[in-house]
Amino acid sequence: MKETSTKQENQRGLSLLLSIILIFSVFGAVVFSVSQKISKEMSASAIQNLSESLDLIQSTIEAILRSEAEFQELIAREVACADDPVAYIRAYEKNRTMAKLSLILAGETEGVSNAEERFTEEGLDFSAGGTISGMPVSQSYVNHMGTWAYTVKCPVERDGQEIGTLYAEYIYDAIDQSLPNDGFYDRQASLYIMDAQSQRFVLKPKGMGQRSAGHLNLTDFYRANNIQDPEIRAEVESCLQEGRDAMFYHNIREVHALNYMWAVNDGTIFLVGYVPVESIQQEGRTVNQNIMVVVASLLAAFFLCIALYYLNWRQQEKLRREQEEERQLHNRQLAQALRAAQIASESKTTFLSNMSHDIRTPMNAVLGFTTLLDRDAENPAKVREYTKKITASGQHLLSLINDVLDISKIESGKVVLNLEEFALEDVLSSVDAIIQPMAKAKGQQFHLEVTGVRHEYLVGDETRLNQILINLLSNAVKYTPEGGNIWFRVTALKQRSSQYEHIRIEVEDDGYGMTPEYLETIFDAFTRAENSTTNKVQGTGLGMAITKNIVELMGGTIEVFSQIDKGSLFRVDLELRVVETPKGGATGHAEAEPEEAADLTGMHFLAAEDNDINGEILSELLEIEGATCEIAVNGQLAVERFQASAPGEFDAILMDVQMPVMNGHEAARAIRALDREDARTIPIIAMTANAFAEDEKAALAAGMDAHVPKPLNMELLKKTIGQFSRGKESL
């Protein structure tokens, strides 16, 4: 799919590129054709422009020549009228236009001149047949002034008869003065005047930069400007012969130039030279430059637009990709969440299945043994055996329920730590007292090591700390085969604050160990190393989750390292505030003394219990212990009954909490509030299925003295009552 999409994108890109190339080709062709057209028009315009300039110069020179001829005719008439023409000529003053005036009378070969003694036609060549206003003009020559000149001759007629010929010599310098001062085309044009017959250059550009051109004659001009094309030269020759104008393109020293041979006075003289085309087409060049600027601007604008479009597109594409990535991320997260939900659901299903199994198993035992009990009621040995097993199953069921409730509470954030001073040593001793027998029962070696603990008294939730340790250690016992080792190490780490003891608790075993996969989920709720239906080790699978949650609630960390068949190591780091001056009563030593169970024989209790069965069980159990009990079915009745009792009638009040009419807390407060002496002293013991610490706290707050959770454990009850009876005795 992705490959197909890429291919399509490539094809689209190629099409776009081809389209752009096509557009540019068309654009280029249009620009090219326009520029070609402009070039042609400019070329035609340049030729036209130059032609007009040359025509103008030609007209000027021809006008000078005509006026010279007219002037000469005028002089000829004056000479004709003069009494002594020779004297007239000799007396005629030279000037810069007419360098010499000479006269040869008819029938003579020698004449007179205003510049020299004698004058002959020798050295003057009229053979080319050129004329000015019908008067013969000679080939050009360098005259006595050292400058190029020409002579025009005209007849001198008197009374219709030719009496002689008047020769007037004109110098080209006079024409030069009539030409544009600065040349033309901003002195870029070179302009020679060439005598057609001799092909000598008789007038030359005078600027310094102009001196590179051939200046001697046409041959020199050809050589200097490298005009070697025979066709051009033949055409020029033909034009010279016929007195026609010629103009052609030829590069002069690598500059594109228009060269010209422009006939003046019917081709007796020619204007010769060249003009760089750029000089003629200055405005055209400007137009072309401007066109190029416009085209360049358009192209720049186009490319700018393309660039902007591209940038925009890239930005959009980036945005789209980001959105796509985000969407994919969300999808992944959703999938993960779904997966997690499915796993959770599966876990809970598994958990329920496990629970069902775990509850049904002891329940099966309870019910099964109850049936057997019924059958073997007459056999006391069997009855005792059955009741023992029923009790064990009940205990298991109870721990199961406790754990489930505990994790539920932890997860719903309702657990509150009960911080109070405690002695670490007491905790370790009590844990040791519990675990040592369990390990011993399984033939395991239990090693307890305490290293470097600086403070004995600490502040924390002793019960929860106990719970952590028992959980870890009981697990170690559970998952370590017989004959294995369990190490319980408590090490003080470096203090981060003098007010806190930083301790590390390690529980290590060389038992079954765990797989890496299981290690990843060991602290998740509702998981267990093995399915309870297949595992001989029974448990709720909540212990580790509870442990981790409590450690974190205490601000600590827990880690686990394990290798299958090698064993496991649980490491808990905790910081517990130290107690500088422990309270006297908080030594715990007194409490640590093994509590003695009271002998209930002869005691009489008031029990507030709304449940008939529970009431009956209580009565029966107390009766077994030799005590009696009076049941009130709610708090109100209990209060009233106590109020009505004689002082000392009841040894203690056993108070259920959840009851109709008046609950246990209210009842306890009411009793304590009674105006009689024993109202504040009679032990009130909460005996309730509300078995959590806060329940106990609430009970104590209500004025009760102790808390014994249901199901009723007679040993515990006896110990609790024993506490109060000893207290009473000591009083």
């Binding site: 050292g146 400058t147 310094m208 590179s212 200046h215 004659n217 050589r223 902007l308 930005q315």
Partner: protein, 432 residues
């Protein structure tokens, strides 16, 4: 997106700026400016060789640079007027220069020594001795250009003529470069025996240098120059006596076929003999100093070239005529022309000229290394051994007259006839 907005804003601002800058300023009512300065012109007449489109003419460039300097400094425009003879039948540059100067056609002229003397004698040239730049002139320059007590011309270079020899050919035939006329004849004989029929390339202008070198080697280097010149001017001594050995030597060269007299008589300088010399067919030509520097002459050869003095019994002898710039006495723009002269003969201009053209400067303050080929000639000049090709102190003009009389020899006249021409010139001078 904000970046794109910035771009668009910048583009719009640029477009607006362009529109504003294109916005019209009002045209004046009269579109032609009237405040043009009056153009000051100086007309300059100088020769110009025929053009070669691919060669650089250093000599002309050097002069142009100094003229450009003057134009820039003075705000004048120098207009060039030139003349070049198409062939030997044409009027010569000197003829035209004389005509133009006599008719007061130009302001500044570049003149050959004979023309300088002729026009100076006629009083047609301005006295330049008042220019500041003359203070730096070498004495020899001042003497050679002084006519009737007036300094009438100042050169931009000291022109020295010498023999340009193809050293490779001399080596090929085991020849040493000649010092004396006899050695020179010996070399020519060897070249001829080895198939070089005409060992000397010549034109109608410069063969006189052989004659002048032999004629005046003693006069200028014998320690009695002034007395000898005085004797000539007084008629006690005869120019023909000095000239005869040189002419006889030239006659020998012609008689032996070492020089093609007929060809030389119709050949223009360098144009006639240059191609064969450059092609290695002719081992010896004569030319002026600057020809060794410029590509239009012999500035770029495929063989080892050296420039040596002409053979005399006093050894190799450079011949130094003086060309120079002069100002017409009646020049239309005399004042500006004098200013231009001041600039182009200043030490700064002469330094520029000499550096560009690698020539000996007429200013004693300017010294430039010459190209290796010119060292033999330069060494002689530095030693003070040379012959002047022209001397305004002599009452018979030397450079132009000798040239013309050599042409007579080339045309078939005898040495005696040529000497008679000198005698006639001297007599005419004595009778003035």
């Amino acid at each position: 997106m904000s970046g794109m907005k910035k771009w668009i804003a910048v583009c719009l601002a640029a477009a607006l700026l362009a529109l504003v800058s294109c916005g019209g300023h009002e045209d004046p009512k009269n579109l032609i400016s009237q405040d043009e300065e009056t153009k000051r012109v100086v007309n300059l007449f100088s020769p110009m060789e025929k053009s070669d489109p691919n060669a650089e003419n250093v000599a002309r460039t050097a002069a142009d640079l100094t003229i450009a300097m003057a134009e820039e400094r003075l705000g004048v425009t120098v207009d060039y007027w030139t003349y070049t003879a198409e062939d030997y039948q044409d009027k010569t540059y000197d003829d035209v220069a004389l005509d133009r100067a006599r008719n007061n056609m130009d302001d500044l002229y570049l003149l050959n020594p004979d023309t300088v003397l002729a026009l100076g004698t006629e009083g047609l040239l301005m006295d330049l001795s008042g220019l500041d730049s003359t203070k730096n002139l070498r004495e020899i320059i001042r003497v050679a250009n002084t006519v009737d007590g007036k300094l009438v011309a100042i050169p931009q270079e000291v022109v020295a003529y010498g023999l340009f020899v193809n050293v490779d050919l001399f080596k090929q035939y085991g020849l040493d470069l000649p010092n004396t006329p006899e050695e020179f004849l010996g070399c020519c004989r060897v070249f001829q025996e080895n198939g070089i029929e005409t060992p000397i390339g010549a034109n109608r202008w410069w063969l006189e240098t052989f004659v002048l070198a032999i004629a005046y080697a003693d006069l200028y280097n014998g320690g009695n120059t002034q007395a000898e010149i005085a004797a000539l001017n007084s008629g006690e001594a005869r120019y023909s006596d000095y000239m005869r050995p040189g002419f006889e030597f030239l006659q020998t060269l012609i008689d032996n076929g070492y020089i093609d007299a007929q060809k030389a008589l119709v050949s223009e300088a360098i144009e006639g003999e240059g191609p064969d010399f450059l092609a290695g067919k002719t081992p010896i030509v004569m030319a002026y100093w600057g020809a060794a520097n410029t590509e239009t002459a012999y500035g770029k050869t495929d063989f080892e070239m050296q420039v040596i003095g002409f053979p005399t019994h006093r050894g190799r002898m450079p011949v130094m005529p003086m060309t120079g710039w002069a100002v017409g006495a009646q020049a239309e723009h005399a004042e500006d022309a004098m200013r231009v002269m001041e600039v182009i003969t200043s030490d700064e201009a002469l330094q520029l000229f000499s550096e560009t053209n690698r020539v000996i400067s007429p200013s004693k303050n300017v010294k430039v290394d010459c190209v290796p080929a010119l060292r033999p000639l330069n060494d002689r000049i530095e030693e003070g051994v040379y012959v002047l090709g022209s001397n305004a102190g002599m009452n018979v003009e030397q450079w132009g007259n000798t040239c013309l009389i050599v042409r007579q020899l080339l045309g078939g006249a005898t040495v005696d006839e040529c000497m008679a021409s000198f005698d006639a010139l001297q007599n005419a001078a004595l009778n003035k």
